[in-house]
């Protein structure tokens, strides 16, 4: 999960290690000025000039990403450096080089697909800067493959390839978002936990599981007021209790959690854990001095007055379905069954859920 680092809106969705990439965009006017001063600029034509500017923009962003990754992921940092230099070099060459189109198409295709593979594999988080950078690259790709001559076949091919590239890139990025707790933003740890803090967090998880074990039977939960709030046909279902919501709700009360999470199995729902939800957005949850890293909020949930419910998640490019709008959930914390492989406060392990559904756990 990306850390909720500033709570200031515009840059909230950009990972901390990507902020320099966004800042590098401020150099774009200088890059455009440089390109404008090249002898080949006047004769290049509007489209090549625009492609050169877009390549310069993505090149600057990639170069800006180098310092943020250098210490922890030197290989990724090296890839960003090479990619950034190639983009910047090509932005200059695009103005005069005869073979700029295949070169740009190849570089853009490989970059967009490599990004998709990186995020889908979990090696990188999808953030707002990633979405906007891909949008810039897709625009450059579209302008590059667009034919200069007339012909329905050429134009249809160019349009189809741009659409396919946007869809494939978007789908892979969406895979990365789903993998990364559906694009949730995590709370910054409040401190450096001591052994006592860790012990307290462990005891809270143990007590919570002990107190909610009566809800292992979903009919008991329903009788207590818990109702399914997500699609019941899904692999996991969230149940919520409206009596425990509102401003006067119980806060982190193991006997009265706001939500329960079940896995759908052939034998009926199997309790996986609970969900504590705070009343107000932006509120800090008790993380036992940083020992619990699970507090998060979902800023990318789309709801629709048409379906009267959740209608999806923001795409990697930041859009909701039609007739829907994005909302930010209030902070929440999951406490899972003690045998969850990632720990009681960790990210829910899909393979573990599948084993439960198969009756192997």
């Amino acid at each position: 999960m990306i850390e909720l680092h500033v709570n200031a809106g515009f840059v909230d969705g950009i990972a901390i290690d990507h902020l320099w990439g966004a800042a590098a965009l401020l150099l774009l006017p200088l890059a455009i000025r440089y390109l404008h001063g090249r002898p080949a600029w006047p004769a290049a034509g509007g489209r090549r000039q625009l492609v050169a500017c877009l390549l310069a923009a993505t090149g600057l962003i990639h170069l800006g990403l180098v310092p943020g990754h250098l210490a922890i992921e030197p290989v990724t940092s090296g890839l960003f450096l090479v990619n950034g230099l190639l983009f910047c070099g090509l932005s200059v060459l695009a103005l005069s080089w005869r073979r700029w189109r295949p070169a740009a198409a190849l570089l853009l295709t490989s970059t967009i697909l490599a990004y998709g593979v990186f995020v889908a594999a979990g090696w990188e988080s999808v953030d707002d800067l990633g979405g906007v950078t891909k949008l810039i690259e897709l625009a450059a790709f579209g302008l590059t493959v667009m034919p200069t001559r007339t012909g329905a076949f050429r134009w249809t091919g160019a349009t189809a390839s741009t659409l396919v590239m946007a869809l494939v890139g978007g789908l892979l990025a969406w895979g990365g978002i789903l993998r990364d707790h559906a694009g949730a933003l995590s709370q910054v740890p409040s401190g450096r936990p001591t052994a006592a803090d860790r012990q307290a967090a462990y005891q809270f998880a143990t007590r919570t599981w002990s107190d909610i074990s009566r809800y292992q039977d979903a009919t008991v939960a329903r009788a207590a007021g818990y109702k399914p709030t997500t699609a019941e046909a899904g692999g996991t279902v969230h149940y919520e209790n409206k009596a425990y919501e509102g401003d006067r709700r119980p806060i982190m009360d193991p006997t009265r959690p706001q939500g329960l999470v079940y896995a759908n199995t052939a034998r009926g729902p199997v309790l996986l854990g609970v969900m504590f939800v705070l009343p107000k957005a932006g509120q800090r949850g008790n993380d036992f001095n940083g020992a619990v890293g699970g507090w998060h909020e979902h800023p990318n949930v789309c709801v629709s007055p048409v379906s009267f419910s959740l209608s999806g998640l923001l795409t990697p490019f930041g859009s909701c379905p039609p007739l829907s709008f994005a909302i930010t959930t209030t902070p929440m914390l999951h406490v899972w069954r003690p045998d969850m492989p990632n720990g009681p406060y960790g990210e829910l392990d899909d393979r573990w859920v599948k084993k439960i559904q198969a009756g192997q756990v």
Partner: protein, 179 residues
């Protein structure tokens, strides 16, 4: 103007692709037991298909398609502006601002400029002035004006070919793209 029309077309295609992507959430949810979301999925797909068709017609020079697209972009922009004003979610973040506010604004400006330019050309035609740039990059559409009436003669033909159109005044009479 040719580049402006190409850029507008490309941005419309990208916006349609994003529209297709937005349909996936409602599809998954409707399959998972929330069937009302199917309406949203169908709407998202239908709007994206219509947008691509209108973009192609606009590229060929259809003013009516341009007018529909202007109305659609204005609607998208007002919706996004309203959402940003109410501000319940991530509307003020970098990617949503770029996609939901900056992109429709850019498209609206491009489409309106092209429309104004086209109206200006019509006035020039009525005054008997020559067209300098047809803007019909596929060589199709309703290329009205001096070039059209001249049947693509002499120096106008060269100007038109330089701009990417065909010499005879449009594939609209011979099929898309003049092939």
């Amino acid at each position: 103007m040719k580049t402006a029309r190409e850029v507008a077309f490309l941005l419309l295609v990208l916006q349609a692709a994003i529209g297709f992507l937005t349909s996936l959430g409602p599809i998954v949810l409707s399959l998972g037991g929330a069937p009302a979301n199917a309406i949203l999925a169908v709407l998202a797909i239908a709007l994206s298909i219509i947008q691509v068709v209108l973009a192609a017609l606009f590229l060929r020079g259809s003013r009516r398609a341009g007018a529909w697209l202007i109305a659609y972009e204005a609607l998208c922009l007002s919706g996004a502006a309203l959402a940003a004003w109410i501000h319940l979610g991530a509307d003020d973040r970098f990617a949503p601002v770029a996609t939901n506010l900056a992109l429709p604004t850019l498209l609206l400006v491009l489409l309106l400029r092209l429309r104004l330019w086209s109206a200006h050309e019509d006035r020039s035609d009525r005054r008997g002035e020559h067209r300098q740039d047809t803007g019909w990059i596929l060589g199709g559409g309703r290329a009205r004006g001096a070039l059209w009436h001249a049947g693509g003669g002499g120096q106008h033909i060269r100007g038109r070919e330089l701009l990417g159109g065909d010499a005879a005044g449009g594939a609209g009479r011979r099929g898309v793209g003049g092939a």
